[in-house]
């Protein structure tokens, strides 16, 4: 009843090409941003912000990165976590080399290092396709994971192999390190994610996004349209790894702290992000957010939800049951809606348009 586009006429191509051409969508987006920027910091407690919202934002960004590669360009990657790690370690090295530069700038710049490494490991993609490429990206995952442990230069020869998150400030408010409040860290994450999502949306809606999708849908035809396959694929690797790298730097500097850096960027994390992308919906930015919310919150829901329902579980068993349920849910989900949450979202909107009189 309220979600109708009747009466909204578009008289310019620009209006027609907008990412959200329907007015109600734009209002909805404004409300979501309002809640994110004002509502959550006001209402949410420290625990909620630091162990639900910040992980959600970090995973969303990584999922957007992988979605650009897998969803838009059709190249499966199992090495996302490694590229995130490159971002985190690059950021750490940058903070030691340039202690005076603002940490937000360094987080963004570390994404560039990740992008460079991504391009390097993307080079085989011209000759290798499909699952073969997926396996090839495992080379990146295991090699980089090895490097994070075995190349002491990366963690400044620290005996424990951990990296330290230094205290950094902006306008005398500390952004990172022990004294940074969850709210501040949340704001930094939110701003980065919103800005980078906007860039990603611009890219995928324009010429570059079209070339990516053309490569995904029919690479031969794309080449005959004048799209250079290698360039398009490498650009996708670069942009994707940039997002992953920034997400990785955020993960260490704004969420985890450096202590566990050498054992978070594992293949398991790569898989988790791939789940987010697939369950959220391949080739959909909204889907990346939905998928990240779903996968990131699942263990928490299991942990607190099952005892609440009266299923008594000990810690270890709960973890095992969670594994089982996650596996079952993934299968169930793929059967019910192989195109992911984003498709459900669209169907929902379509239904809403004709509600309450669908005929």
């Amino acid at each position: 009843m309220f979600y109708r586009e009747a009466g909204q006429f578009k008289s310019t191509y620009q209006a027609d090409m907008a990412v959200f051409p329907i007015k109600q969508d734009r209002i909805g987006l404004a409300i979501i941003l309002g809640i994110a920027f004002i509502g959550i910091p006001l209402v949410g407690g420290d625990f909620f912000i630091s162990s639900v919202m910040i992980p959600f934002l970090v995973f969303s960004l990584a999922a957007i990165g992988l979605n650009i590669l897998t969803g838009y360009t059709g190249l499966i990657s199992l090495g996302t976590a490694a590229f995130m790690g490159v971002g985190a370690y690059a950021c750490y090295k940058l903070t030691t080399f340039f202690p005076d530069v603002n940490i937000i700038v360094l987080i963004l710049v570390s994404g560039l290092f990740s992008a460079a490494i991504g391009v390097l490991f993307g080079l085989p993609s011209l000759r290798i396709k499909g699952f073969y490429l997926a396996v090839a990206t495992l080379a990146a995952q295991f090699f980089l994971q090895w490097a994070f442990v075995r190349v002491p230069w990366l963690f400044n020869y620290n005996a424990s192999g951990a990296i330290e998150v230094p205290q950094r400030t902006l306008f005398d408010i500390s952004l990172t390190g022990a004294s940074a409040t969850p709210e501040t860290r949340y704001f930094v994450c939110l701003v980065l994610v919103v800005v980078l999502t906007w860039f990603a949306s611009n890219l995928v809606h324009g010429k570059i996004g079209r070339s990516w999708m053309a490569v995904r849908d029919m690479d031969i035809a794309a080449e005959l349209m004048g799209i250079k396959l290698l360039n398009a694929k490498l650009l996708a690797f670069a942009v994707s790894s940039f997002y992953a790298g920034v997400a990785g730097a955020m993960m260490i500097f704004l969420w985890y702290g450096g202590g566990e850096a050498n054992d978070v960027f594992t293949i398991r994390l790569s898989f988790n992000i791939l789940f987010m992308v697939i369950i959220g919906g391949l080739g959909s930015l909204i889907g990346s957010f939905l998928g990240a919310a779903f996968i990131a919150s699942l263990p928490t829901i299991m942990k607190f939800g099952l005892p609440a329902l009266g299923v008594p579980l000990s810690g270890a068993t709960a973890e095992h049951v969670t594994f089982m349920l996650v596996g079952a849910l993934i299968i169930l989900f793929l059967i019910v809606e192989p195109h992911g949450l984003a498709r459900l979202w669209q169907i929902g909107k379509q239904k809403l348009r004709t509600w309450p009189f669908p005929y």
Partner: protein, 271 residues
């Protein structure tokens, strides 16, 4: 080459320009299999050139050689005076060769509009950073090309499917979108691989109309492969006939129709 072409049978021949593309002694092999053997012909500016022949005669392989998807082992292809033996498909595209495919090769996950917009890729110059902002010059460029694409959509009468994903369109419309995508490249030479395969009579007539319009309004040179002889005879200025990878005839539709080798190839010979 002389612009004025004399015709032996004395039929009126449309005046055509100089040679746009010439194929000289091209041979193509896959391992031991010879797909094309020593074929030569040319395509003149502004004409409609048909390539016909029985199944497996090497027609599609010939098109693949022309736009660089296959590299012939022998012979040369000259396009706009530039001789080459090897050319990457994307360079062929940049030089002005567009094509459609026998089995529709659209980007199935994208809308009609986006599909045709990809045809403009080579003409869009704004850098990555403007693209990331999608404002100012990048937006202006996008709108400029959208205008061209809308004209093509208008021309092909596919306004109603503008925003639908092409994967779900009926076959006839898909073929039309594919033609639109090729036209968006503003090619000098348009290669059409069986543009009317699997269409009903009405759709075929529409498609013929579009092809002739493209040829006459935009002056685009067209090379097409087609099995429907009626269509070939009506549309084309000159016809080249392939059989088992060799050229067996070349000339106006009337000449080709009367050629004994062609009749044998199509109807078989009594042994």
């Amino acid at each position: 080459m002389n612009a004025a072409v004399m015709n032996v049978t004395g039929e009126p021949v449309r005046e055509k320009g100089e040679v746009l593309l010439s194929v000289e002694n091209v041979s193509l092999r896959f391992g031991g299999v010879k797909a094309i053997t020593d074929v030569s012909f040319d395509i003149r500016k502004g004409e409609v050139r048909a390539i016909i022949g029985p199944n497996g005669a090497g027609k599609t392989s010939m098109l693949n050689c022309i736009n660089g998807f296959y590299q012939p082992q022998e012979g040369q292809i000259t396009f706009k005076g530039e001789r080459r033996q090897k050319m990457k498909p994307h360079r062929a595209a940049a030089a002005g060769i567009a094509r459609t495919f026998q089995n529709v090769a659209l980007f199935k996950g994208m809308s009609t509009l986006d599909n045709i917009m990809t045809g403009r890729t080579l003409k869009m110059k704004r850098s990555f950073f403007w693209q990331a902002l999608r404002h100012g010059p990048a937006m202006a460029e996008e709108i400029e090309h959208r205008r061209v694409v809308e004209d093509i959509i208008d021309f092909l009468q596919i306004e109603h499917i503008r925003k639908l994903p092409v994967g779900k369109l009926p076959y006839g419309l898909q073929k039309r979108v594919e033609l639109g995508r090729a036209l968006a490249m503003e090619p000098e030479l348009l290669l059409l691989d069986e543009p009317m395969a699997g269409m009903n009579l009405e759709e075929k007539e529409d498609m013929c109309r579009f092809i002739l319009d493209v040829n006459q309004q935009f002056g685009t040179t067209i090379a097409l492969i087609e099995h429907d002889m009626g269509v070939v005879m009506d549309l084309s200025d000159r016809v080249v006939v392939l059989e088992y990878g060799r050229k067996i005839a070349d000339g106006t539709p009337a000449e080709v129709k009367a050629d004994q080798a062609v009749i044998d190839a199509y109807l078989g010979v009594a042994h």
